[in-house]
Each structure stands twice: as C-alpha cells, then as structure tokens.
Amino acid sequence: MSRELLSILLYLAVLVALAVPLGRYMARLYRGERTLLTPVLSPVEGALYRLGGIDPAEGQSWRAYALSVLAFNAAGFALLYALLRLQGVLPLNPAGVAAMAPDLAFNTAASFVTNTNWQAYSGEVQLSYLSQMMGLTVQNFASAATGMAVAVAVIRGLACRGEGRLGNFWADMTRSVLYVLLPLSLVVALILVGQGVVQTLSGAVTVTGLEGADQVIARGPAASQIAIKQLGTNGGGFFGVNAAHPFENPTVASNMLQSLCILLIPVAFCFAFGRMVGDRRQGLALFAAMGLLFVAGLAVVLWSEAAGNPLIAQITNTTGANLEGKEMRFGAALSALWGAATTAASNGSVNAMHDSFMPLSGLVFLVNMMIGEVIFGGVGAGLYGMLLYVVLAVFLAGLMVGRTPEYLGKKIEAREVSLAVLAFLSMPLGILVFSALTVIVPQALAAVQEAGPHGLSEVLYAYASATGNNGSAFGGFGASDPFHTTLQGIAMLLGRYAIILPMLAIAGSLSAKAPAAPTAGTFPTHGPLFVVLLIVTVVILGGLTFFPALALGPIAEQLSLVAGARP
C-alpha cells in the first residue's frame, strides 16, 4: 500500500510541476504576448483570421462574445448531426456502419458539442472512421477550445479596469486550438502509439488464437482521438469501453500519461488565472480549494477500493482490492486515481467501470459531478464554474459582516448574485428533476439494470454526468432508449449553456466596473480563510442540494453492503 501511495503522490507532484509552466504559457498566450510557438504558428493563425474576416484585437461585449460562442457551437452541432445521419453513404467506413438514428444522433451531437462526450453508442459498432475523425475529433477540439475561451473571457471581466470588453472569442478559441490543444495532442498521441495505441485506417483484423478459435479485433485511428479526448477533458473513447480497452490504454505508462493529461489544463488554468488577474496568490487560492477537495475525494476512493468487496471476500476466502470491472495492469489504486480525476475534471473517460466500484467510491464520483464539475473541472469550464461559487462565497461573507462583497476589487451586487444563483440552479434541475422523471415514467425506468439503491445510483449518475458535462457512466444504465437519449441531450445542453451564458453576463457586468482599491475592511480572497470559506460554500450549496438523493442511493447501498445484507 505504501508503494501505491507513493506512486499517487509522485503523480500529483509531476502534475503540478507540468501545470505551473503551462499556466504561465497560457497567460502569455491569452494576453496576446509572444510565446515559444509564435514564430511557427502565427502565419497559420493570421491566415485563419483573414479567411474568417476576424480582427483578433477587436474586443467584444459580453453579448457579442456569447453570440459568437452560440453561433460557433450551433454550426458545429449541425455539422456533426449531419455527419452522423449520413455516415452510411460517406467514405472512410470500412465496417459499413449504417446511419445513426435521429435521437441517438441528437444525443451524440449534443454530447460532443458540450464537451460531455457521453456515449450512448459504442464507437467500434456505430461510428464510421469519418464520423470519428471529422465529427467527434473536431468537436473534441472545438468544445474544449470553447470552454477555454469562455474562461478567459470571464477572467478578463474580472481583471479589466472598466472597459466593458471581454476580448475576442474567435481569437481566444483559435489560439486555444493552435497553441495549446493541437501541439500537446500531437506529442501525446505519438507517445501513446509508442505504447501500443492503434492508429490505422485499416479495418478489423481476424486472428486465429492458439486454441484455434477466431477472434475479430477492431482497430482504427484511435491515438489521435485519445490524446485530445484526455487533454480537452472530453473523455469520449474511440472504443466503447474507453480507456479500459487495451488498444486505448495498453500499459501502465500510457495510463499515467493519460491520467496526467486529464487534469493538466484544468490545473494550469488556476495558475494562468492568477497571472491574468495580476495576483498569483488568487490563482493559488483557487488551486488550494480545488486541490483539497480533490485529495479528500481521492483518499476515500483509494481506501474504499483497496478495502474491496466484503460480499466477494466471503466467497473466495481471500481479501483484497475490488477488481470487478478493473484491468489487471492498472489494479485498484490506479483505477481509483483515474476515477477521481475523471469525475473531478469533467473528463468522463474511464479505465475501469464505475458501475462496479464500491458504493462509497461511486458516492465520491457523484459528488464530484453534482457540485458542478468545479474540482479543476473541464478545461476552462472548471475555472468559470468555480468562479460562480466564488461569487456566492464572497456574497455569503459579505452578508456575515454586513458589507458589499467584493472580488478582486469588483463589487459583487444583486445582478451578479442573481445570475450566479440562476446558473447554479441548472445542476439540480438537470440532475434531480430529470432523475425524478426517469423514476416516474415506466419506459424510462426500464433502463435501470439493478433494483434497490444501486438502481437509483445508476439514474443519478446518468443525469449528473450529463448535466455536469462529464460523460462517464454507470454502464448498466441502458442509455440508448430514445427517452434517455433525448432527455440526456437536453440535460447536456442545459448544463453547458445555462452556466456559460450567466457566467458571461456576470463577466460583462463586472467588466464595466472600475476596480476599487482595497481598504482595511476588504475581505482578502487569497488567504487560508477564503480557501476554507470557498470549500464550505461548495460543500454546503453543492453537496446538501443532493444529499437526500445520495442518502437513498450510494449511502444506503454502502450501509446494506457492510451489514452483509443482499437486496
């Protein structure tokens, strides 16, 4: 166990050591300064702007910024939907996959445009190579870049001196793809191929095993998609079983690299934030709050998986970690690390099956998603999601001392708090209301695999994953029913845009305010007290909203499991 703990600590150290310089690089990039890659990429960047008729220096109001986000995402949605519906007659389809049904295509398009990558389909069975590449891989980049751009706009709203401009969406988005996502993806993908991740346009291969039985092995251009799916907190696998598939994640080395990629950009955003607002301690405070929440959840999952399943131990006369739904090369500890990281980061890729984790681990996964994916969270999305809690936290602090709350010198007033609450409500709406609908409608309830508390966990997980734009699943949940493909699609759109739009509105409102100089009465937002207040806000607002539902799901299951009772 001590070796495993040491390996986890080393992972965390490497993660931070990589994220700090990346954060510095991103801050320079978004401020429009020269970076290491500028000499190589600026001609390409300039050409993109010229063809699009874009002036990257032109600052947009929050409304123009939001409209640009919506227009770009709507166009991406339409293209992806069309590709999925027409893939049967388009090229690069060696397996002869047919067109996707309308409801599933809607679900998949919503899923990839919103950076969720919920997979109601199985990639090797229902997608052509063309759809994987020109459809899904493109949206892996585009949705990640959208989240990064929105975060940058929100940061500018906080940092600016009252000009009322949030920057240029087209420039922010283009720079995110060209300077961050694409170069990192190329490097990561090549390392992954070296470990054994497939990257071929050839179709499946049939082999005859040592015992003489035939085995058909699906392949495809996987490495290119996997690199960006991890870096962009997308999570949608090339194969149905995602990063548990030996062709997606063949070795412990590939596993550790992908685990790093899951959290790399979200962690880097904390440090970029500090630099962009001109006070690195502010970024450190957000990093500390997120980091403490992450480590707390990770510790529970590590412990609960290592302790194993007492019901199975009774049968085998052996005690050990929970291995159902896990790969032997990763074992329980690295599966626990991945599970905590992928649910915290709104990534959603899995290297082990979350449905088969112990109930307390499932509880941590659910909480990570339900609080709105703000423990590092999706690329960009985690940062602006946490800033939403920051608005609420300083508001609560202001109530306690009877002063108008401020953050980074900007007064937080009724408009900002109302918008923050509006954004916050999208989570309970998408998770609790939609889960309740599922439980009431018989056709919807048929999707649940297991009776009792675990069945409720499956429903909650599905809608927490969709609304939180995570994309991982309790796989026993039959997500391909048209009721759920449609409702899940709506939940994903809600969880994305019902947070992006209010956050941009808050940023717009703050951007018009001139920052006030700090006085003796200003509540400092960089010290330990603020970190604790922020954590408490997240836990109370996010956690307690969902506690009654969680008590009936994973908590009830854990209690009955410990008691040795079977449902």
Partner: protein
C-alpha cells in the same frame, strides 16, 4: 449577423480540415512510418499466421494453457464490454460463486485469487495476477507432463513488475506465457 456567421462557418470549416483531417491523417502517416507494428495493433505472428494481438486478451480453456480472467463478452474484440454489475448485485455474487467453485475444482486450492473470479473492465484483459498464474501451474504441468517448477519458472518470466518499480501491480501476460509454454514444453502427443 454576418459579423458572427462568417467567422463561425469559416472557422468551423477550417478547424474541421485541420483537426478532423490533417491532424489524424498526418498522425496516421507518422505512426505507420515510424512504428508500424504498434500502430497496427501489435499483432503476434507464429509459424506464419497471426495468432493474436500482444495487447488483447483471448480465451483459453484447455488445461495445458494459462487461463485468463472471466470476460463479460467472452473476449469478443469487436465489441468489448464489462459486466457493469454493482458490488452487491445478485448476478455478480452468483457468477463469483460459480467461478470460485470452478477454480477450487481445477486447482484444488481453497483461497481463490480475486482476479480469477471477477470480470475485467474491457472484457479483453490480457493479464492476470501472479497468484492467479501460480495457482494454475500444477494443472498446466499435469496436462503437459512437465514439472510444476518448470511451469512456475516460465510463468515468472512472463510476469511484469510495477512500472518504474512504483506504478501499478505486478501482472502476468497470458498470451505471452502460453506461447512460452508451447515453446518450452510441447504438449504430449497422446
């Protein structure tokens, strides 16, 4: 409106060409040129025919072979999958009970390695635990008319320790071990 529509459509088209075609195709070209064996699925050839992928588990049932973990999809590498059973699902406990009984019958041992009775995440797990492998040594030796110690030696050679001595558990590559067994201890003619 065109101030927003034009950049949206143009950038989407260009991003599609860059990230949807140029990026994966360039990567395919580089990967196939530099690491063709890895990029094409790490296929293992033996006596001129492809017997499997070094990375993908395959089913083994004969007593002279090392057996892999249970698979929810019977090692169907065209549609991988897991059981997705929750930890207290009756179907899971029933399956574990049956597998444990099989293990005890085949090996004569009472303590059952956990990976021998639980299904993997992919259904294509190429590895098993060292305890699971060693537990099968006597059965393999008997079926091949060989010494158990010799089988144990071969299994140890197919065992990979933690990566960098730190990350992940030790595990035994089933296909690799079985090929080594065939090479070192050809099956009895009878």
């Amino acid at each position: 409106m065109t101030t927003i529509l034009r950049p949206a459509l143009v950038l989407l088209a260009l991003m599609t060409l860059m990230t949807g075609l140029a990026y994966p195709l360039a990567l395919t070209g580089i990967a196939q040129a530099a690491m063709p064996w890895r990029a094409s699925g790490s296929l293992v050839e033996q006596e001129g025919r492809v017997v499997g992928s070094a990375l993908i588990g395959q089913a083994f049932a004969a007593p002279e072979y090392l057996h892999p973990r249970p698979s929810a999809v019977d090692y169907d590498a065209a549609a991988a999958g897991a059981s997705n059973f929750g930890p207290s699902a009756p179907a899971l406990l029933e399956a574990v009970q049956n597998r444990a009984a099989d293990w005890r019958r085949e090996t004569g041992q009472k303590a059952v390695p956990l990976d021998a009775v639980t299904a993997s995440a992919s259904g294509l797990d190429p590895d098993i635990s060292p305890e699971n492998a060693r537990g099968q040594a006597a059965r393999i030796a008997a079926a091949r008319g060989a010494e158990t110690a010799e089988v144990l030696r071969i299994l140890d050679q197919a065992t990979t320790g933690p990566w960098l001595g730190l990350f992940g558990p030790a595990h035994v590559d089933v296909l690799g071990a079985n090929r080594a067994l065939d090479a070192a201890l050809p099956r009895d003619a009878g």
